[in-house]
């Protein structure tokens, strides 16, 4: 049997077809990971669910939501957004591992579509985020979280969370390409966790010391959290500052800004692999 690779397409449409087909092959690799390691997948989801339960029931009694309301109903939108943020780590890890093991180089030495590596990563990570959201929503509904303003606005809320996740993809790919090896991802985790907690996820910024509250309010995660609370009709929206009053606008603007900054940086970093 002779193997002949078809010549690379020269038309834009042909290139798009290759990018989609190859991107899907790369995404499929992650899907095979999930199927071959269901335990890892389940542990991952169970961890998120556990965080909701721990914070909801353990601290729920001690926390009061400004303007009144159930703490678990306040907490869940925050946890959904937080999980979008924490999955930044898995993007960084996947990119760094492939780079340091030479898998990225193998891809680059093959006649595949050059954008497929990134496209495949993006699709796989977005898929995983959808799976995480579904699991957490199921858990939320079980601990008396509610969608109060109808399915249309709820879908918009999910859209905003996935938009944030999409923006974080480029930050993750950029950081993953910058880090020399998978071990150094731990250094990023040290930064990721405080950033995740310095938000309005667990406590309303109004209740924090002044300066801390301001930081938490301007944290891009908080904008998405507030916007999502508003769209779900969950308690805890408030604050008199400009940023707190415009959370839906900022929940769109922040991710767009992050994408505008880090998409070109990630692309440039990828091209620099050949320097």
């Amino acid at each position: 049997m002779t193997m002949v690779a078809p010549a690379p397409p020269s038309s834009p449409l042909g290139r798009l077809r290759w990018a989609l087909a190859d991107g899907w092959t790369v995404t499929r690799r992650d899907i095979i990971h999930w199927i071959r390691q269901p335990v890892a997948l389940i542990v991952n989801l169970a961890f998120s669910v556990m965080l909701v339960l721990v914070f909801g029931y353990l601290f729920g009694g001690a926390m009061s939501v400004p303007g009144g309301g159930n703490y678990r109903e306040f907490l869940l939108p925050g946890m959904l957004v937080l999980m979008m943020f924490f999955s930044l780590e898995s993007t960084i890890m996947a990119i760094t591992e492939d780079k340091s093991k030479g898998v990225t180089d193998r891809f680059r030495s093959m006649p595949m579509s050059p954008s497929a590596v990134v496209l495949g990563r993006a699709t796989a990570d977005m898929l995983m985020s959808v799976i995480t959201l579904v699991a957490l929503v199921a858990c939320g509904l079980a601990v008396d979280w509610k969608i109060n303003r109808g399915i249309g606005l709820a879908l918009a809320a999910f859209g905003l969370m996935l938009l944030l996740r999409f923006a974080l993809l480029w930050l993750g790919i950029y950081l993953g390409l910058m880090l020399p090896n998978p071990e150094s991802v731990a250094a990023v985790q040290i930064l990721v966790w405080p950033l995740g907690f310095l938000t309005s996820v667990y406590a309303p910024p109004e209740t924090m010391p002044n300066w801390l509250g301001t930081i938490a309010e301007w944290n891009p995660l908080s904008s998405t959290v507030s916007a999502v609370r508003e769209l779900f009709g969950n308690p805890g929206i408030g604050g008199d500052s400009w940023i707190a009053q415009h959370s839906i606008l900022m929940a769109v603007l922040w991710p767009v800004l992050i994408t505008v900054v880090f998409f070109p940086l990630a692309v440039r970093r990828y091209q620099r692999l050949s320097r």
């Binding site: 049997m1 002779t2 193997m3 690779a5 078809p6 010549a7 690379p8 290759w18 087909a21 190859d22 092959t25 790369v26 499929r28 690799r29 095979i32 990971h33 071959r36 390691q37 340091s100 093991k101 030479g102 898998v103 180089d105 193998r106 891809f107 680059r108 030495s109 093959m110 006649p111 595949m112 497929a116 692999l273 050949s274 320097r275």
Partner: protein, 322 residues
């Protein structure tokens, strides 16, 4: 064109910032042959391979693979080559078969052909039994063979192998050598980099010795070995007392510079006629009444080849950079 080289490099230059990794690197590999690129750590082997495999842009010179210019036609070059890099570039979670299938799809073979080719290659590289197991559970040698298989999916016109046995135990090394001999028998053009003289000797039709980004010697192994003296005689003394006398004795049969290491009480030198040299040294030692702890004939190490060719030892990376 019948005589067109499968790989051609002319005056390649590549710098990383201030550091010149390639400094006028030349290479010509005949189709169907195995060419060894032999050099110590930091010599520029990986840089050369990465340029030829379109992974790195060159700063100067010209390179062709299968008649295609690597700088101007990288996409076409990629359809003609296989690359097996320094670390096993396969997915750990996927099985061997799933890895090969994935790469086959990315070569645009289509799912059915990719699957058939994966099975064929698993068979060929002796991995059929373990093809469904996760790569995580593979030994070093198995991983390397899977890596080779992935490089062979397209039956490439040129296969690049960057230090395919570095870091393997002797058993793994043997496995990989056998797999490579099979490839060679099938007529694949191979550019193989290595730090081991005997590996290049065993597998390559021609060898280029590379040092600080330049080729300092080129030829078939036999010719190269005769210029560097082939085998070496090594005498280990009981005490360093007679070192000078022994250097004199060994010099008479040596075909190159005699080396003596006082602390190790060792004298060594290249020789051409193994038996005659050994007999002569043993006789002279006993005439002089010097007792040796050990006398042996052995292959030169890469370090000694370097000393012969360049007059300096293979340097450590840091020293090169300084």
């Amino acid at each position: 064109m019948v005589d067109q080289p499968a790989v051609l490099a002319e005056g390649l230059i590549k710098s990383y910032g201030e550091k010149r990794a390639l400094d006028g690197f030349d290479l010509s590999v005949a189709p169907g042959s195995v060419h060894g690129l032999l050099g110590p750590n930091g010599a520029g082997k990986t840089t050369a391979v990465r340029i030829l495999a379109t992974l790195l842009r060159l700063d100067g010179g010209r390179a062709e693979v299968a008649g295609l210019d690597v700088a101007r036609q990288p996409a076409l070059v990629r359809a003609k080559i296989g690359l097996v890099g320094q670390s096993a570039a396969v997915d750990e979670v996927l099985s061997g078969r799933q890895n090969l299938e994935m790469f086959g799809r990315l070569y645009h073979l289509g799912p059915a052909v990719a699957r058939r080719r994966a099975d064929e290659l698993l068979d060929y590289f002796g991995l059929a039994d373990t093809g469904s197991k996760a790569v995580k559970s593979y030994s070093g040698g198995m991983r390397r063979r899977l890596d080779l298989a992935a490089g062979m999916i397209l039956r490439p016109a040129v296969l690049f192998l960057d230090e395919p046995t570095t870091g393997l135990d002797p058993r793994g090394r043997n496995e990989v050598w056998e797999a490579m001999r099979a490839l060679v028998a099938a007529g694949t053009t191979v550019l193989l980099t290595t730090q081991y003289l005997d590996e290049a000797d065993q597998l390559a039709d021609r060898i280029s010795v590379i040092d600080t980004g330049k080729v300092i010697a080129e030829g078939p192994p036999s010719q190269l070995k005769s210029t560097i003296g082939g085998d070496r005689i090594e005498v280990v003394l009981r005490t360093p007392a007679h070192l000078e006398t022994v250097v004199g004795i060994v010099a008479k049969v040596a075909t190159g510079e005699v080396e003596s290491i006082v602390d190790d009480r060792t004298v060594s030198a290249p020789v051409s006629d193994r038996v005659a040299a050994l007999t002569e040294v043993v006789r002279a030692l006993s005439d002089a009444g010097i007792e040796a702890e050990d006398i042996s004939l052995r292959r030169p190490t890469l370090d000694e080849v370097f000393l012969q060719l360049t007059g300096h030892r293979a340097e450590k990376k840091e020293e090169v950079a300084a």
